[in-house]
């Protein structure tokens, strides 16, 4: 089915189930309990998980397969966002035209940038993409203010033309939707102390992420994907065989740019505003980190990496000193202060420190990223199950990393 082999099919089904059941999986702790702080099952963060998942999946098509390290992918995300918001301002708050425009315009932009940047390889390529992205950022911030809204960015306004939409009811604000359903519509389900939120926007984005994930699987397994891997392992040899690899690499670049544009368009669809800082080099760096952290070149790794970083950014940064005191109130006073004092530098405003340490730990101990961590745990569990057959296990440790 779906033209996937058994292993891929299993992975795809697992990912699909995880995304569909995310409101449950990400909200394991009951409301009001001390651990509810760690719940991530609220619409905004779930949306970000899948959107940055798309961004990272797309980046991985370029970097994971061809080895070309783009340091400017945030530019495509930003361009996609601007395209989407303009569609919403001019045409309609329906997200379909916005998303089509974001993918298309980001694709065209990626074609231009890719065509120029791919004339060089290695770090020269990285710096070329970085230069294009930084120029886009700087211009969006200042000179292009009439189109981009400068630092303040753009938002749909009540008095925008929106030629396809009916006039707004008095007092209403424009909000993004899909044929009558609004992205922010949610259904809440309370089970005992647990509260689960099913958000339409999330499922819309999640559906697109599954499409994106499936497409990337097909690309990985296709002859085109094989060609791209060839570029990574030895471009010269590939060229000597008489093949011109550039069209393939360029295609990968444009595809991954379109993925970034889709992510940018979805960001606008979920939260109707855009600012230039999403094109800054740190944003480009973030997707690189997501991909490497999760496991470059693997199918699921980038999604894990994206989830990891966004979780840290949104959850760890919100733990403050008073929450720590709530957790450890049961300790004797002196000890409580000591424990809080020891943890405090790593949470709240110190969340960057934790992130930095996690980067280092993962790359030092798990050279294949989070995916390798998962494999090791899997092997360990399986190894325990059949301890008797220890010899057979040795072989599997030497197996190739799953993709």
């Amino acid at each position: 089915m779906l033209k996937l082999d058994k292993k891929d099919m299993r992975l795809f089904i697992i990912v699909a189930l995880m995304t569909i059941l995310a409101p449950f999986i990400l909200n394991p702790f009951p409301e009001g309990s001390g651990l509810a702080q760690f719940n991530a099952g609220y619409p905004d963060l779930m949306q970000r998980f899948v959107i940055f998942g798309i961004f990272a999946i797309g980046f991985n098509i370029l970097f994971g397969l061809t080895g070309y390290l783009s340091f400017g992918h945030a530019a495509f995300l930003g361009v996609g966002s601007y395209a989407a918001i303009w569609m919403m301002k001019l045409l309609t708050m329906n997200v379909i035209p916005a998303i089509i425009a974001s993918v298309a315009i980001a694709g065209v932009f990626a074609l231009v940038v890719g065509f120029i940047s791919l004339r060089r390889s290695g770090i020269y390529f990285s710096i070329l993409t970085l230069a294009f992205a930084q120029m886009s950022f700087a211009m969006a911030y200042s000179v292009l203010t009439p189109i981009t809204g400068g630092e303040t960015g753009l938002q749909p306004k009540v008095n925008d033309p929106r030629i396809l939409d009916a006039a707004l009811a008095p007092g209403a604000t424009p909000s993004a939707g899909l044929f009558g359903l609004e992205m922010r519509d949610s259904y809440e389900l309370a089970l005992g102390n647990w509260l689960f939120t099913f958000n339409f926007g999330y499922y819309f984005a999640a559906a697109l992420m599954l499409v994106a994930f499936y497409t990337s699987m097909r690309i990985f397994r296709s002859p085109f994907g094989m060609m791209l891997r060839g570029v990574k392992s030895n471009q010269q040899r590939l060229n000597y065989t008489g093949l011109n690899s550039k069209p393939y690499t360029l295609a990968a670049f444009v595809i991954s740019g379109m993925y970034a544009g889709l992510a940018g368009g979805l960001l606008v669809a979920m939260d109707t505003q855009v600012g230039p800082e999403r094109m800054f080099w740190t944003a480009s760096g973030e997707v690189v980190l997501m991909t490497i952290l999760g496991g470059a070149g693997t199918l699921i790794g980038p999604v894990l990496g994206a989830g990891f970083i966004k979780y840290m950014e949104n959850i760890i940064s919100k733990i403050n000193e008073s929450i720590l005191h709530q957790w450890f109130y049961w300790l004797p006073d002196g000890l409580e202060d000591l424990v809080v004092g020891m943890i405090y530098p790593f949470i709240g405003k110190g969340w960057h420190l934790t992130l930095g340490i996690m980067f280092m730990l993962v790359v030092i101990f798990l050279p294949g990223g989070l995916v390798e961590g998962g494999q090791r745990i899997g092997r360990w569990v399986r190894g325990k199950g059949r301890k008797a057959d220890a010899t057979g296990d040795k072989k599997s440790t030497a197996s190739t990393p799953a993709e």
């Binding site: 970097f63 770090i123 070329l128 230069a131 980190l289 490497i292």
Partner: protein
């Protein structure tokens, strides 16, 4: 004309900082093959060596002055630096005022130590790893270093003035036959430029005229062969890493009076110094220095209002624009060697 001379001076000054950082970065690339995203953080650590020395020198004991009130109406706590108690206000005042130049002596051992620990403790395990892993681990390290600084010093810039002997400006105009006062340039910025020139010359001389340098250059060209000759190249590379850290640190120390240091100043310079290194050409020390000065001068010119009136916003993008043009016309930057970091 005088405006142009001034902008050239500005550019050389800015270029000095770019060149010093890029020099260390390209040394590490060239010798160890490591992409060091923590290099900006080393620059920042250097600047904070100056801040720290200043803090150490002004460590104070507290006396309570009943005649004055603090903002809450309590008796004012007057802080007197210990060294003032030991040596009297005059000597102490002079020492504190000269804390930035003194910090050079303070920073050299610290930065060398930081470099050694970093290389032996972390970087050496990443020689054989892909560049992507190197980026991730050094980026993580950079975040950790700057968060530690933020934890102790806060996020605001910390004023670290130069000695008052350098606070004035030098009248270039008079020297070159212009009207006095038209081309003046702050002494400290001239000192910075001179300092950068000396450090760069020192590094070049070290690599060119010592046996050590010769081996390192050979190692840069062909690591395996040198290793086969029975030379312990690893040890030398460790020393090169410490040297690069030291150069970045010194660049930071001397930069502190120009702009008050803050914890993220390293990241501000990181991307630019990568661009500088690549425009100069991977593996080329001369290229890095030349590109540093070139980009510094061009950036200064692009900031002139005469230029901005014709091309609005050019000051924001000039460096990247030049980088693109250079890389498209010269595939390996200004002076890059073939095959370095091209895959």
């Amino acid at each position: 004309m005088d405006a142009i001379i001034l902008q050239i001076l500005n550019g050389l000054d800015k270029g000095s900082a770019y060149a010093l950082i890029a020099l260390g970065l390209t040394l590490i690339f060239g010798t160890l093959g490591v992409v060091n995203f923590a290099h900006g953080a080393l620059f920042m650590l250097g600047a904070f060596c100056a801040v720290t020395l200043n803090k150490l020198l002004t460590l104070s004991f507290i006396t309570i002055d009943e005649t004055q009130k603090d903002f809450l109406g309590n008796p004012l706590k007057v802080e007197t630096p210990y060294i003032e108690g030991w040596f009297g206000p005059e000597v102490a005042g002079t020492v504190i005022e000269w804390s930035v130049p003194l910090a050079i002596l303070f920073a050299i051992p610290i930065m060398i130590l930081v470099g050694l620990v970093m290389e032996r403790g972390l970087i050496k395990y990443f020689y054989k790893r892909p560049h992507a892993d190197q980026i991730l681990v050094t980026f993580g390290l950079a975040i950790v270093l700057q968060e530690i600084i933020k934890y102790f010093y806060g996020a605001n810039p910390i004023p670290t003035p130069a000695p008052s002997a350098f606070s004035g400006s030098f009248d270039f105009g008079a020297l070159l036959g212009f009207d006095p006062g038209t081309i003046i340039y702050p002494y400290w910025r001239l000192v910075y430029f001179g300092f950068a020139a000396v450090v760069i010359a020192g590094v070049f001389a070290f690599l060119r005229y010592t046996t050590f340098g010769m081996v390192v250059r050979a190692g840069m060209a062909d690591r395996e062969t040198v290793g086969l000759l029975g030379i312990n190249i690893d040890k030398r590379f460790t020393i090169m890493f410490a040297l690069a850290a030291c150069v970045a640190g010194l660049a930071g120390v001397m930069y502190a009076p120009i702009n008050s240091p803050n914890y993220h100043m390293g990241m501000d310079f990181l991307v630019l110094s990568f661009v500088v290194v690549v425009v100069g050409g991977m593996g080329s020390l001369g290229g890095a220095v030349a590109a540093g000065f070139l980009l510094g001068v061009l950036e200064s010119f692009a900031s002139m209002s005469q230029v901005l009136n014709v091309l609005p916003g050019i000051n924001q993008i000039i460096i990247y624009l030049v980088a693109i043009i250079v890389l498209l016309t010269r595939p390996r930057g200004l002076m890059g060697r073939k095959g370095v970091m091209e895959d």
